[in-house]
């Protein structure tokens, strides 16, 4: 009891730098560097056809071989890092701002506004997310812009639910009542009393949403509905080179592995963070 509630000592913190955290940091750090500098270092342009040989094996053409059009897989992988991660970050930032702001508004508003917003959110969440995206894109078309906004809105429903719940939980705490009994404004209560206590779980949620965005966008690209060729995106690259698998080419495997390693890396960091945070919220977030 008393031992558990003590503040963690410095040695405790050191032991908490687990191997899985370090692996996660290394992977994510690596891909961040690739996204930033990869295109500058790439031997070819993403759309350059460097050989007339489709699915050339690794080593023969470039580092990782050629794709179905004879383009350099290695170069496209480097360009794809920027495209995929950039899009995912954009979507996450959008969905996060939308979800957090609306979630907080719902939490501190009266019954009617909260009820209305929550019901709309529930309705959106009643769709499996990919199905909703497909329906919207069939109606509005499959441009990149539409995909970004659609995925961001679908994603924001989860952020909305979490931030509303967090703010609600905190707004019934006694220290918020203390502030209310002082006559503090709603703005002050939200920004000074509630917000600081939601930062840790929201940070974890950001990581989770980021991986979700990567997976979602590359799945849509893979289905041919997201990023359009010849742009290099990891999802697009998997789709393009799927046939190559039959000829023993790993051109489809490389971008798929890139997505997988990146999301595993982010999730390792988030997982460490949630474990450190402890508590009920992280239990829920962990799933």
């Amino acid at each position: 009891m008393s031992a558990a509630s003590q503040a963690p000592s410095e040695t405790d913190l050191k032991t908490r730098f687990t191997p899985s955290l370090i692996i996660g940091l290394v992977i994510v750090g690596f891909w961040l560097l690739v996204a930033l500098f990869g295109p500058a270092l790439a031997p070819h342009l993403e759309s350059d056809i460097v050989t007339d040989m489709s699915y050339a094996p690794a080593g023969e053409v470039g580092l990782l071989g050629s794709d179905y059009l004879g383009r350099d897989v290695f170069s496209r992988l480097l360009y794809g890092a920027r495209m995929t991660m950039g899009l995912a970050l954009l979507v996450t930032l959008l969905s996060f701002s939308l979800g957090v702001i609306l979630g907080f508004i719902a939490a501190i508003s009266g019954r009617w506004i909260d009820g209305l917003m929550s019901r709309i959110n529930d309705a959106l969440m009643a769709f499996p997310s990919i199905i909703l995206a497909l329906i919207v894109m069939s109606a509005l078309g499959t441009s990149l812009m539409i995909m970004i906004v659609t995925v961001a809105i679908i994603d924001s429903t989860r952020v909305f639910r979490l931030s509303r719940a967090l703010a609600m939980d905190i707004s019934v705490m006694d220290f918020v009542d203390v502030a209310r009994s002082r006559g503090e404004s709603l703005w002050w209560i939200t920004v000074r009393e509630i917000l600081p206590n939601t930062l840790a779980p929201l940070a974890a949620e950001f990581g989770i949403r980021f991986t979700f965005a990567i997976l979602f966008i590359s799945a849509l690209s893979f289905l041919g509905l997201g990023v359009q060729p010849p742009a290099a995106d990891w999802g697009v690259m998997v789709k393009e080179n799927l046939q190559g698998l039959l000829f023993g080419s790993a051109a489809a495997l490389m971008p798929a592995a890139a997505v997988a390693s990146l999301t595993v890396g982010v999730n390792l960091i988030v997982d460490w963070f949630l474990r450190r945070m402890g508590g009920d919220v992280s239990q829920e977030l962990m799933n």
Binding site: F127, I131, A139, A219, L223, A256, V259
Partner: protein, 317 residues
Amino acid sequence: MGRLLIRRILLGIVVTWVVSMMIFAATELLPGDVCHAVLGQGATEKSLESCRERLQLNQPMHTRYLQWLGRLATGELGTSLANDLQISDQIGARAWNTVRLAALTALIAVPLAVLLGLIAAIRADSSVDRGISIGTLCFISVPEFFTGVLLVYILAVQLRWMPAVANYRDLTRGDFLEVIEALALPIATLTFAVLAHMTRMTRTAVLNVMSSPYIEQAILKGASRSRVIIRHALPNAVAPIVNVIALNLAYLVSGVVVVEAIFRIPGLGTLMVESVIYRDIPTVQAIGMLFCVTYVGFNLIADVMAIIANPRLRHPR
């Protein structure tokens, strides 16, 4: 309890209704109209006219909505904008592939996930638990197409244990072994996709129950490990586990779409994706509705089971 059940079922109906309205309204989001958007700039006045005629765009929105609902209910879904085939025929021809894939996956994944979740919870913090934890974390993170591509690459291309591409069109008549052989990789891929979430959530649900004071009380009565789990923990874990399963059917639905695309299975998922690309809106709406109703239905069943499993509701004061 009866009233609660009726309320829950009514709520399910309301949700379905709202979902249907939203699916229908999606087409109304367009500036101009559907025909304009679908046929594009080069459309002649005549083709636009016939398209509008077919979609009955000259009627008011609520009339069209009601007619659409009526058609959904009777299965008379009209013809596709892409190829003039009856939508209901197309769906009928492909539904079996999707249902079979999803059902076989659920049959494998659900018991396996519950079992793994139970093991992880009972052996919490052991090396088994940590192994399951890391494994599920990885499988949550990786996209279905990675698992699928990797399985094909290793099992079919490198080891040649399986056919990389099966002729799924003939499968409807194939014998059981053939079906299993052809579907083994898709099922494995989909299983990995849904297994991880379900396992983790089951573990959490069971751990929550296992940390209750009544479990400690049972241990202090001298109950054996199996008695504690089977008699004391499981009855209380049923409701959360059922909920976990229902929630994860969403991943199954999403996963089916991608897995069908990886293995080129002619199912509802591929049909829907093709229809989106051809902007065949009536078909997309019909299949979307089908997926959503299934999903809402499963959630409803989970809710009902959770209510029935709750002793407080079964035996009111």
